[in-house]
């Protein structure tokens, strides 16, 4: 299979042998071909390659047909909007009106953009209203659609009434409503991904919501640093510390607990995105805390780094799921181990 070409669609041009293959998944080592291997052999020796059988190396699952830009972009923008609404309410309550207004506008823009992405990703965009045809707690997408149907207007009213300066009490209620629904918007997308058979997402279902809300808080704090005056952004810098710490800690727990399903988060394109997310989050947080209170330019650069870091994490999580769905190893090996353990238990 050395002549095969692992691309965005999986393996192209592979001509497998005639036997069902043992220990030959789509790829050996890390995610397909890449220019350089960091860490060399020492890194790989930590996890010995699992032996398993597959049907000509074909994936067991049909990988998601979701487009990365639409869905990972939606995860990012949904988080930015949701956490932004919480920060906006906090800023308003503590006498930071410029920050509050800026975040309300960014939340409205982000949720509008994410709704557009969701509709764009549909196979039949004209039928997006069918999402509100039923209410189904077993479908995170149904729950999310209703959540957006409630949150979107609240975030919209909060922003529009603030800018227009009309109906302050109604605006306050909308701001409070968006702040209460915002965390749900930021967290439910993790369930959306986890409630699938995709190993890297499903096995991470305990940690993924915390990664997502942490990433959302960091992104919203970053946005505040970019758009709000420095004299008001003290709490935003602390929020960036809180968000980044939560995101990085949850990602570490995920990588330790998810077993083989954590591997895609460290390999190939997903691995690079996750690392970039970590570095940008750490750099943006450090820059914001150390310099963001003094220099407007430093605050903008740090905020942009936080936003970019959050986006990298979301795209990394998305990519890790795609990698784990395309390689039968991640489906077969844990299930086979589970069966063997059960058989051993029954045998004793």
């Amino acid at each position: 299979m050395s002549g095969s070409d692992v691309g965005g669609e999986g393996v192209r041009g592979a001509r497998p042998g005639r036997e069902a293959q043992v220990g030959k998944g789509l790829r050996r080592g890390d995610g397909g071909r890449r220019g350089r291997r960091r860490g060399g052999r020492g890194e790989k020796a930590m996890v010995p390659e699992a032996e398993f059988t597959s049907y000509y190396g074909k994936p067991i699952l049909n990988p998601p047909v979701w487009k990365a830009l639409d869905i990972a972009g939606y995860f990012f923008l949904g988080g930015l909007a949701g956490a932004g609404s919480v920060l906006a309410a906090g800023a308003q309550l503590t006498g930071r009106p410029a920050t509050a207004r800026a975040l309300k506008i960014s939340s409205l823009a982000a949720i509008g953009g994410s709704a557009a992405m969701l509709i764009h990703d549909l196979g039949r965009p004209g039928r997006f209203f069918n999402m509100l045809r039923v209410m189904k707690p077993t479908s995170p997408m149904s729950v999310g659609s209703w959540l957006l149907a409630a949150y979107g207007p609240a975030a919209g009213a909060a922003a529009v009434l603030d800018v227009a300066g009309r109906f302050p009490r109604l605006g306050g209620a909308a701001t409070a409503g968006a702040a209460v629904l915002g965390p749900a918007v930021a967290a439910y997308t993790a369930v959306l991904a986890a409630d699938t058979a995709v190993p890297a997402w499903h096995e991470a279902h305990r940690e993924l919501p915390f990664v997502f809300v942490g990433s959302a808080a960091a992104a919203a704090a970053g946005m505040a640093m970019v758009v709000a005056p420095v004299r008001e952004t003290g709490p935003m810098r602390t929020a960036a510390v809180f968000g980044s710490a939560l995101e990085l800690a949850a990602a570490k727990v995920l990588e330790r607990r998810a077993g083989l399903a954590a591997e895609p988060y460290k390999r190939g394109g997903a691995g690079r995105l996750m690392r970039a997310g970590e570095v940008l989050a750490a750099a943006g947080t450090a820059g914001g805390v150390l310099l963001g209170g003094r220099s407007r330019a430093a605050a903008v650069v740090s905020g942009a780094a936080l936003l970019a870091g959050s986006a990298c994490t979301r795209f990394g999580v998305f990519q890790a799921g795609m990698q784990s769905a395309r390689d039968p190893k991640y489906t077969v090996v844990p299930q086979r181990e589970r069966l063997n353990a059960r058989a051993a238990e029954a045998g004793v």
Partner: protein, 296 residues
């Protein structure tokens, strides 16, 4: 219909799926038993399915995967015959097709199809209600409702349902719902010349399958085993189950599939905790800083 209140219907054995979906006075649960030990790889099932359901062409490609150029189930392939060539003996049979090195050759063929799970993840996660449970206990997509969100595709632990290119909606085996309603058997089962694909009431098929495994074991085919027959498995048992001659993964089937929604309560719980952490954490941040002009 017995009350659904207080019952966990996300996983585990479920004796009457049609009633639990709201069908009163329904026929018995119908299913497929695919006995791969008598499959001859003729692909009549693939052809009959395409003909009856007017499924479009799914690509003409030479794969080199034995006689399998279909490759797997998809939006445009609702029956897929797998071909596996192995250097292993088949019971006491002598094929005369050995490699002269003391090993024998066996050629496994198996017609794969949608499993019509007792706990169908595709149905659980469908946000529009397009996927539904029929009175026969099968799982069907209503194509006039589907908006092509694609959620069912990664939810399926077997890789069955998929999005049709250029159409945008999700498609899969309907177990010929239109034929069932008229008292006919599905097209694939009708066309199968060896009765490798058997259609009937699921209970009856399970009994027949148990006898068949016993029979095969008696004549020395120790490898014979059932797959998807057990109501206690991760998907509550399949409406379409199989007799296989090797491990499931050899045929491209997951060895121990679990319906993803089994863990959904845990997922919502963790998401709720995470949302509360976000709200509480940011509230604490503002509490520490206090009103502007105050602390810092």
């Amino acid at each position: 219909m017995s009350s659904l209140i207080g019952r966990n219907l996300l996983a585990g054995a479920e004796s009457d799926v049609a009633a639990d979906s709201g069908c009163t006075d329904h026929p018995p649960r119908m299913g497929f038993f695919t006995d791969t030990s008598v499959c001859i790889g003729c692909k009549a099932c693939e052809v009959a399915c395409k003909e009856w359901n007017a499924v479009p062409e799914d690509g003409l490609e030479f794969t080199g995967m034995s006689y399998d150029n279909t490759q797997g189930l998809s939006a445009d392939t609702w029956r897929h015959v797998a071909f596996i060539e192995q250097n292993k003996p088949m019971g006491h049979a002598e094929t005369g097709a050995g490699h002269g090195d003391g090993t024998d050759l066996r050629w496994l063929m198996a017609s794969d199809v949608c499993k019509h799970c007792t706990h169908a993840a595709c149905l659980d996660v469908c946000p529009t209600g397009s996927l539904f449970r029929t009175e026969f206990g099968t799982v069907v997509v209503q194509e006039d409702i589907c908006n092509g969100c694609g959620y069912c595709i990664p939810a399926c632990p077997y890789g069955v349902i998929d999005q049709r290119k250029g159409d945008g909606r999700a498609w899969k085996c309907t177990m010929c719902y239109d034929r069932l309603g008229a008292g006919q058997e599905p097209a694939c089962a009708k066309a199968c010349p060896t009765d490798s694909i058997q259609y009937g009431p699921l209970e009856e098929l399970r009994e027949r399958a148990a006898l068949r495994v016993e029979q095969l074991h008696d004549i020395g085919v120790a490898d014979a085993r059932l797959y998807g027959h057990d109501p206690q498995d991760g998907v509550g048992g399949d409406g379409a189950f199989f007799l296989l001659l090797d491990e499931p993964e050899v045929y491209g089937l997951p060895p121990d599939p679990v319906v993803t929604t089994r863990d959904l309560p845990a997922m919502w719980k963790h998401a709720g905790l995470a949302a509360a952490t976000l709200l509480g954490g940011l509230a604490a941040v503002f509490a520490v800083h206090g009103p502007r002009g105050g602390a810092r």
